[in-house]
């Protein structure tokens, strides 16, 4: 975790100066046509911040869920008992910005123990393992929610994260099915869409997000994304060397979505409820609009054809 430095807002620079040009990858297609006020963060730009969730040391305490709810004033959700191990949060949504998953598997755990990984075993159950992971919004570079938002309520912050402005969102719900991770949802009785802000208010004051601060095992790590990615690669090498050959990084590069929150997993992503290879749906302009243009042309031609041979 970052130490308090006297000037918390001045972090090691990545040269990012433009809200729409993250890590040097220009995304002109997400630039608003009519810039409302300032278009780039200029001097205020910060290095892109992110989360690295190292699930190998998650103990399933749900402190992240609680801290998130406390800090962000997220309404309580009492869904009852699901029977899905210790997971009674069910999924990410408007009222759950962190979600700890619990997966029970028949698999020898000695490897994990040797590697010093915190996966608990049950006495007399040598082939039982428990996987836990704290899921969160991925704050993607190629965020479809941001692309499709028709009001500009979703925006890219100076930290490279994606945040919903609650005073703009009119609850159109477009971002909800756009997200390939099922992160966003409409809040019942409120009508607007809510999701993780990476504690934007805390970031502005140089603090780490509430979940990361509350995490007792440093399973949730917060920091400049570039540093976290490097760190994660090192950690992966370490656990693989220790014998956890199933371990893998999920979303730890700029490829595809460019996730700002990524994970070290001990099994396939879908086991944790994550899509194994999500497509960037909102960047396929050719096939999305091209086919609509063809269809519109066909419709016009069809109407003209109806008048061939007389207009009565």
């Amino acid at each position: 975790m970052s130490e308090a430095t006297g000037e918390p807002n001045i972090l090691p620079g990545s040269g990012t100066t433009d809200a729409y040009n993250i890590d040097g990858i220009d995304r002109p297609e997400t630039r608003p046509l009519i810039p409302l006020g300032q278009k780039s963060y200029d001097g205020e730009a910060q290095p892109r911040m992110g989360f690295f969730t190292d699930t190998t040391v998650c103990i399933g305490c749900k402190a992240c869920e609680v801290a998130c709810k406390e800090w962000n004033d997220v309404p309580a959700t009492l869904m009852g008992l699901t029977g899905n191990s210790y997971d009674n949060t069910e999924d990410l949504g408007a009222d759950a910005w962190r979600h700890v998953t619990f997966i029970e598997q028949r698999k020898p755990v000695y490897v994990q123990q040797e590697a010093g990984l915190g996966t608990p075993s049950i006495e007399g159950e040598p082939d039982f393992r428990w996987l836990m992971s704290s899921d969160v919004c991925k704050h993607c570079t190629a965020a479809p929610c941001l692309d499709v938002c028709p009001t500009g309520a979703l925006f890219r912050t100076e930290f490279g994260t994606v945040v919903v402005q609650e005073d703009i969102c009119n609850g159109c719900g477009y971002c909800v099915p756009a997200c390939p991770f099922g992160v966003l949802d409409q809040r019942e009785g409120d009508g607007r869409v809510w999701k993780c802000t990476m504690c934007y208010d805390r970031q502005k004051d140089g603090l780490e997000p509430a979940c990361a601060q509350a995490c007792p095992t440093d399973s949730i790590q917060y920091g400049p994304l570039e540093e976290l990615r490097e760190k994660a690669n090192g950690r992966l090498e370490m656990v693989v060397e220790a014998g956890a050959t199933d371990a893998r990084l999920y979303g730890a590069d700029e490829e595809e979505y460019g996730m700002g929150a990524f994970f070290l997993l001990l099994d396939e992503p879908e086991v944790y409820g994550l899509p194994p290879d999500p497509e960037i749906v909102s960047r396929k302009f050719g096939s999305l609009w091209g086919s609509a243009a063809v269809a519109a042309g066909a419709l016009a031609a069809g109407v003209v054809a109806a008048f061939v041979g007389g207009s009565r």
Binding site: V148, A292, F307
Partner: protein
């Protein structure tokens, strides 16, 4: 476990996160969906219908004008206006915060089909309204003509952008149908515009409307078959079950019967044209409902999200490749 022999150590019951449905073999988190179902309600499929109807009626009205078929032009233009009036009402009603609808008008955002559509609908509605107003009041004839042309030009865009609206999502049966769905919506819009105009116009003036209705209905029937075939056996499944299937079957029946009635009796009998037209309209609305519900059904089951992505990874990496995730 009661059936275990006394010697065997009792195994704690684990709820397997592996989905063991027939022919699946995919893994998931307790069978829970990966993506969220849309929050859109009944207003949205009906808007696809009213928007499509209005959008295809506008060029029909303009061509009837050019052909000096005043009755047909009037019927089609009033249909366009009615659709353009109902559409924003439906859209605003569906918002979580309807009083904030105007926030849609604070940006023009080409990456958002909903933003693009908001502007198409706003300009289309204004143009159609102005075209009707100038005609009714008998003022500004030149402006009126310009507005008719503008309305006719934007109409096809209004009828088809709604397909992009839903294909630009992570919902498997919508996104993977992005090449065919606009054609289905265009055909369905043509059918409904023709049907409405044929219902509202005396039979002797309604020939182009009947042709459009029948042609559109046939294209709609063919288009949905094509779309499902291109989706492949797995992603066509949501169309084979639940509400999506029921709406699809009803739509096919209504559209076929309506088209037959319109084609073979619509020229002689106004009653047959009205009955056939109503059936075609119902078929077009049901088709949107079928597509709408199929999307929800495909979002609900992680199979439709995971299996195609796994297949893609397999193609990318070879059978034993490391995979991206």
């Amino acid at each position: 476990m009661t059936e275990a022999s006394p010697q065997a150590r009792p195994q704690p019951r684990l709820r397997s996160p592996v989905s063991e449905g027939p022919g699946n073999g995919h893994r998931s988190y307790y069978g829970q969906p990966i993506i969220k179902e849309p929050t859109w309600e009944w207003e949205i499929p009906f808007y696809f219908f009213t928007g499509g109807l209005a959008g295809a009626s506008a060029p029909l009205a303009l061509l009837a004008d050019l052909g000096a078929n005043g009755r047909l032009a009037r019927a089609a233009r009033l249909t366009a206006l009615a659709g353009a009036t109902a559409s924003p009402v439906l859209l605003v009603m569906d918002l979580g915060r309807p009083e904030r609808f105007y926030n849609m008008l604070r940006v023009v955002k080409p990456t958002s089909p909903m933003s693009v559509g908001t502007w198409i609908l706003s300009v289309f509605g204004s143009a159609t309204g102005a075209a009707v107003a100038t005609e009714v009041l008998g003022v500004f004839p030149r402006l009126g003509r310009a507005m008719r042309v503008l309305s006719a030009l934007l109409g096809p865009a209004l009828s088809t952008y709604t397909a992009v609206l839903i294909t630009d999502t992570s919902v498997p049966v919508w996104h993977e149908a992005r090449r065919e769905l606009p054609l289905v919506f265009a055909a369905s819009s043509a059918a409904s515009a023709g049907a409405a105009a044929a219902m509202l116009t005396p039979t002797k003036d309604a020939t182009p409307a009947r042709r459009l209705a029948v042609g559109g209905a046939l294209a709609e029937l063919g288009g949905t078959v094509l779309m499902k075939r291109r989706l492949g056996s797995l992603l066509a499944e949501p169309y084979e079950e639940g509400e999506a299937r029921r709406f699809d079957e009803l739509s096919k029946a209504c559209t076929s019967v309506g088209a037959l009635s319109m084609a073979f009796a619509g020229r002689r009998s106004r009653a047959a044209a009205v009955a056939g037209g109503a059936m075609i309209l119902a078929g077009a609305a049901l088709e949107r409902w079928s597509v709408f519900r199929a999307g929800f059904q495909s979002a609900r089951d992680p199979k439709y999200t995971v299996v195609p992505q796994r297949e893609r990874l397999r193609e990318l990496n070879g059978p034993n490749g490391p995979g991206r995730g």
